[in-house]
Amino acid sequence: MTRTPILHPAPELLLDYAAGSLREVQALLVASHLAYCPDCRRQVADFEAFGGVLLEEVPAEPVSVGLLDAVMARLSEAPAPPPTPEPAHPIRSLLPGPLRRAVGAEPEALEWVRIVPGIHVSAWALSVGTASACLLRMGPGSRVPAHKHTDCEMLLVLKGGYSDEHGRYAVGDVAAYEPHTPHHAVGDRDGECLCLLVQDQPLVFTGPLGWLLNRGIRF
């Protein structure tokens, strides 16, 4: 793949990520997208530079008289920084670094829960507050059942690609769905599609399978 993503997280998500206000689950998707996307890396660096300017301009608050000495006294106790564990050979992982560290395993080593034939979600999930993330796997040509949702949903493509009524998504692309917009994802026919799925509320499935899918599977 020598393609840079063409569908990016919304600019305000990049800003929130750089500012530090974005919550962990959404930040996981943004950080993972950055692994694929030089454009967004540059934007985040720009927003961090803005944070640096703000830090210079924030009203300074005098610190306690003894604080400098307290810190100086701790310098010697401060452990030498652990050398960043740089792998001798770049890890050939399917997952971008931030996601690989969050999941702690490669997709094939995970447990998967079948939603409908061809569509699986990982048993691995990250839930913080009302937001959650998991992996979504679409078999070749498989169709994610129609569902509507009450909050934002985002997908980051990690492998393969899929399409819906809004467009086509390939590796590194981010699809964002506003609340209450039903959409119908279909995996590409020529191979499996793997995505990071982030949502802020449990989905409510519509259609004939809805009652079943809403039982116990927080998808």
Partner: protein, 190 residues
């Protein structure tokens, strides 16, 4: 001597040089100078974000110790000293206040994808920072406000919208207009 950073004195070391002295020589006097400059600002940052006095000073200690430990990861080609310290303060605050982890991209994360054609853009830091300061001063107040809220109230844009009674679309529009100006200022883009 690398001891006092006096911005009025052109012979005094820049904060970037002070950081490099800490990294290379474990220079405690350079560290003291950095502390005198940044500690009150980190405390101000924490206070803006709602920390009480003692929590703010704990964050100052935490950040400054991290500066000491990680000084060798500072790369003046990529960021100014203030930007680098801001990123540490932001991350340490998230760890402490929210007890969340911050998913971070590491330099070696890009390697597996390095068949990506464009090289990373390196910001010419000092010039960009001064252009940024100018642009921030010139932003319409409503645009400057949404930017500051993201950095200083720990609010994502949807929360800003809900709490201020400003429609989400308006918040996004203001942010995007501000971002266009910032990007122009930093990148010198047309």
């Amino acid at each position: 001597m690398l001891h006092q950073a006096d911005p009025g004195d052109p012979s005094s070391p820049s904060r970037e040089q002070l950081l490099i002295a800490v990294a290379r020589d474990r220079d405690q006097e350079a560290f003291r100078a950095l502390f005198r400059h940044f500690a009150p600002r980190i405390k101000g940052y924490a206070r803006q974000l709602g920390a009480d006095d003692s929590a703010a000073e704990e964050l100052v200690q935490d950040v400054m110790l991290t500066v000491w430990q990680r000084a060798e990861t500072f790369n003046p080609a990529l960021a100014s000293a203030a930007t680098w310290v801001f990123a540490i303060a932001r991350n340490r605050r998230i760890d402490r206040a929210r007890q969340e982890r911050r998913p971070e991209l590491r330099a070696d994360d890009i390697a597996p994808f390095d068949d990506v054609p464009q090289p990373d853009h390196e910001v010419e830091t000092a010039r960009a920072a001064s252009r940024l300061r100018t642009v921030i001063g010139e932003l319409p107040p409503e645009q400057a406000e949404v930017l500051r809220l993201a950095y200083y109230e720990d609010k994502v844009h949807s929360e800003i919208s809900a709490e201020r009674g400003i429609p989400l679309g308006t918040v996004k529009t203001r942010l995007r207009l501000a971002l266009v100006r910032l990007r122009r200022a930093i990148g010198g883009e047309a």
